[in-house]
Amino acid sequence: MGERKIRVLIAKPGLDGHDRGAKVVARALRDAGMEVIYTGLRQTPEQIVTAALQEDVDVIGLSILSGAHMTLVPRVMELVREKGLTDVVVFVGGIIPQEDIPKLKALGVAEVFLPGTLLEQIVQAVRQIVKRPLGTSE
């Protein structure tokens, strides 16, 4: 009972091994008082959504720098819907061309963070979007 900590899954889908951003963001969210699970490298969309379900997270943060986001993010969003994770907020961070941002948002991605985003902006965005009322956790 009481206010549960925001639970975040940080994942790196695809083959990209550049995990600096993912790890820095994971640590910043943790320092901001959230519970953060980092899946490690090269997770398939299936593995990510399964982990999100098992860990009962509020947020999935996907970090992609390889350009594969228009294949991997739609797949994650599809699985999120299939598994009924309708309350879960999805963020994307990485090297994302401007013109893909509206496309990702149309898929239901809450926010896209580009290189140069301050940690504080990410922490604020997560807090604002995840407004879990008191005492709603199991």
Binding site: D16, A68, P115, G116
Partner: protein, 559 residues
């Protein structure tokens, strides 16, 4: 460098200056910050004087270019004799697309090629592997077989152009493909020249595109080095890379220390395999990053040469002066570029490129302005090449050797870098070497910590990033054009692979793969066997899988 008497005189003079000139100014006008630091967050003093370099002996520590310890450069005349190689990293889509970009860059005056492979290729996966979905041709060119490699270098004479290939875990296979293309062009292996990155240790530390565990990976590297020493004597079989270590968040010192320590590890393994150090050391090369902090970067390059020369001569007993030389390629820092106000990236890259040149690099890649958004467009790539040409032909910095040598500040920073390296070497040696250090996550944790500290400094605006945490625009006035890699690339690749597998002699492919596995189980050099697989048109994925059967796969330890 100074006598005791001169030193005490200078100390007195400095004291007097501080009391009489500095203090009244500080009382009236305090400095902008309590502490000034480099990009790596190392403290910088207000003023450097001969006192900061009094521990240096000119001939021993700074010396003359082209002579031990090469602090001032590996060539006596440096850029007065020959400019650095303009080597822009390029690769995207199919081999056809990249072949066209290569020819464009050569027409623009680029003097060497540098191949970027896509992630499936870097991981030793064919374009039609399920894990390759969405990644084919995206951040590099897709190469799955000799057939792709033939297209990649079609119409490019390999005896005349030098090629650098950024490939690590499957480096031996990609190199074998290159050699077979050369062979088919009728080129003499003894005459071709270039570099394969082939640096697996930095993969475990930073870039994280690995296949096999460390020990068999090291064996493949020793095999390629030994093979080159015999068969491809002008080839650089390894480019020991700090670039990715820096991009992962390391400080300048961490980049330098971990890279050189990785170099030590490779030399140790080769020597243990029975190679004579002077037979291969002149063909080792390095690859560094160049970030924004102008003087810190210049000092890093000068220290690199000095430390490596000492390591090769004292630790390994190399006798050939060419074995002592740290030759390196430099790339400006991708991680310093911003998606915000992207045209600012041209300015950042110019400053970084200038530091690389003042640091004495042999080869340079300047990043394009759009790289925080996507792969470079043709226009952005040309502008990046022009940046180097302007430095080379208009700035005048190339007209004398090591123009910053003797600067109190630069020499003091160079010494600090040098000292910092030996401290890291001692720690890693005490852990039992680099592989043991990697297994316990030592360099990884050091880098993660540095990355976080840096980001916090940016968040707190202790470090100003123009357009990001200061001088921010609500709305970007100009949109930058983007290079788009279409999903049709993957379809073309899958179709080419289907046809290749139907056309080739599959029994021969199987035989060559079996022979390779047999060699991998033993101690023979694997290169001739990999070459046979390639000649039979076995795919990259098939060859890497064969080795995986014998060597196993690497799992990152949790930390």
């Amino acid at each position: 460098m100074a006598t005791k008497e001169a030193t005490s005189h200078l100390e007195e003079a400095l004291n007097r200056w501080e009391q009489q000139t500095l203090q009244p100014t500080l009382a009236r006008l305090p400095e902008r910050a309590a502490e000034f630091t480099t990009t790596s967050l190392r403290p910088i003093k207000r003023l450097y004087t001969p006192l900061d370099i009094q521990h240096l002996d000119f001939e021993r520590d700074i010396g003359f270019p082209g002579e031990y310890p090469f602090t001032r450069g590996i060539h006596p005349t440096m850029y007065r004799g020959k400019l650095w190689t303009v080597r822009q990293f390029a690769g995207f889509g199919t081999a056809f697309d990249t072949n066209k970009r290569f020819k464009y860059l050569l027409e623009q005056g680029q003097t060497g090629l540098s191949v970027a492979f896509d992630l499936p290729t870097l991981m030793g996966l064919d374009s039609d592997h399920p894990l390759s979905e969405g990644e084919v041709g995206k951040c590099g060119v897709a190469i799955s077989s000799l057939e792709d490699m033939e297209v990649l270098f079609e119409g490019i004479p390999l005896e005349e152009v030098t090629t650098s290939m950024t490939i690590n875990a499957p480096a031996a296979v990609i190199f074998a493909m290159y050699l077979v293309v050369a062979e088919k062009q009728g080129a003499d292996w003894k005459k071709i020249s270039g570099t394969i990155q082939n640096d697996i240790l930095k993969e475990y530390i930073a870039q994280k595109e690995w296949i096999y565990p460390p020990e068999p990976s090291m064996r493949l590297i020793v095999d390629t080095i030994a093979f080159c020493t015999q068969e491809v004597p002008r080839w650089h079989p390894i480019s020991i890379s700090g670039y990715h270590i820096r991009e992962a968040g390391a400080t300048a010192l961490q980049e330098l220390a971990f890279t050189l320590r990785n170099g030590i590890e490779y030399v140790e393994w080769c020597v243990r395999a029975g190679l004579d150090v002077d037979a291969f050391a002149p063909r080792l090369s390095f690859f560094f990053n160049c970030h924004n902090d102008f003087f810190e970067e210049i000092a890093k390059f000068r220290a690199a040469r000095k430390v490596w020369a000492r390591v090769m001569r004292e630790r390994f007993g190399a006798r050939d002066p060419r074995s002592w030389m740290c030759r390196f390629h430099t790339q400006t820092a991708g991680c310093s570029l911003t998606a915000q106000q992207p045209y600012n990236n041209i300015v950042r890259t110019t400053i970084q490129a200038l530091a690389a040149v003042l640091g004495g690099t042999q080869s340079l890649h300047t990043n394009a302005l759009d790289e925080a958004l996507a792969l470079p467009t043709e226009f952005a790539a040309m502008l990046a090449v022009r940046t180097q040409q302007i430095i080379a032909h208009e700035s005048g910095v190339v007209n004398t050797v090591d123009p910053l040598g003797g600067s109190y500040f630069v020499e003091a920073l160079t010494s600090e870098m040098e000292r910092g390296c030996y401290e890291y070497f001692e720690k890693i040696d005490a852990m039992g070497g680099m592989i043991a250090a990697i297994e316990r996550g030592f360099p990884q944790k050091e880098i993660q910590e540095a990355a976080y500290r840096y980001q916090q400094a940016v968040d707190r605006r202790e470090k100003i990033i123009v357009g990001v945490n200061e001088y921010v625009l609500e709305k970007e006035p100009i949109e930058v054009p983007i290079l788009y890699i279409d999903e049709s690339v993957a379809e073309i690749q899958r179709e080419r692979l289907r046809r290749l597998r139907a056309r080739r002699d599959n029994a021969r492919v199987q035989r060559t793969l079996e022979a390779l596995k047999e060699a991998a189980r033993g101690t023979e050099n694997t290169m001739p066997y990999i070459l046979e697989c390639v000649r039979a048109y076995a795919t990259l994925g098939e060859i890497c899988d064969a080795l995986k059967e014998v060597f196993g796969e690497y799992q990152e330890p949790p930390f």
